[in-house]
Symmetry: C2
Subunit: 125 residues, 2 copies
DNA sequence: GTATTATTGCAATAAAATCGCAATAAACAT
DNA sequence: ATGTTTATTGCGATTTTATTGCAATAATAC
């Protein structure tokens, strides 16, 4: 499946690139200056996830949030396994530069992590 | 608000007490041998959460799972801050006896954690 | 320019969770 | 026991989030 470049794709990607925070579908739709169909936004985002451009976080509110996969020193690993912080005051989610560290019992194989800390962020405290 | 004892409450609590795993609303409804309304189950579960009898985990699937708050050596703390494991094979969630450890940047205040590791559990591997 | 097919918009649908309201039934007092 | 208070329940409707089918559109390659 060869990807094509479209205005929609560009717009959503730029939004994410310029955002310090992870964005919900809702937030993306509101911040876009061009009008894009709800379903299309979801499809674009899911394609980004498949392609490893973006990662998805599901917060306690049950909603999906999307953030650019930042290229760090330790590409593959660090991208997925970091904590996220959800601020109850400004209602945003951001990627923390804090790795998720754990050990699991024998026989358990971890493929992915979804770790969200909730509280009040620096901006709001 | 004084709580009352009802068959519904008993039934749901017993289910959770006897389960090794965290249960979704759906799973609870199916496993109950008495018929209880969907909304009622949610309300009972939410009351348990308010009362600190049960804790709620939201997984990547966006669904809520409920598990009894086990009394450990270190009551308050350990209850909330442990990892959960979601097995993609048997589609269950369980509490791991693995504490969530992290450090957050200055000015951040963590009130809660929602950490789920996803993969294949011991039973399925 | 034309053909191929990835992408989009629209409407419908699915699924999870909550809410308002009237009816029911625990808990307590008499 | 009986009655009163009000927490709890059932029902139906609603909200919110996310996905899907299908025909129309448009990006890419020739």
């Amino acid at each position: 499946m060869i990807r094509r470049n479209t205005p929609t794709k560009e717009a959503v990607l730029n939004l994410l690139l310029n955002s310090r925070k992870a964005l919900s579908h809702d937030a993306i739709e509101k911040q876009l200056n061009i009008e894009i169909n709800r379903a299309t936004i979801y499809r674009v985002l899911n394609r980004f996830c498949e392609d490893g451009i973006v990662h998805k976080i599901v917060a306690e509110d049950g909603k999906q949030y999307f953030a650019i996969c930042k290229k760090c020193e330790n590409p593959q690993e660090v991208i997925q396994h970091h904590f996220h912080f959800r601020c109850l005051s400004c209602d945003t989610i951001e990627c923390l530069q804090v790795p998720v560290e754990y050990s699991v019992p024998n026989g358990y194989e971890v493929q992915n992590t979804n770790c969200v800390l909730t509280g009040v962020c620096n901006d709001c405290s």
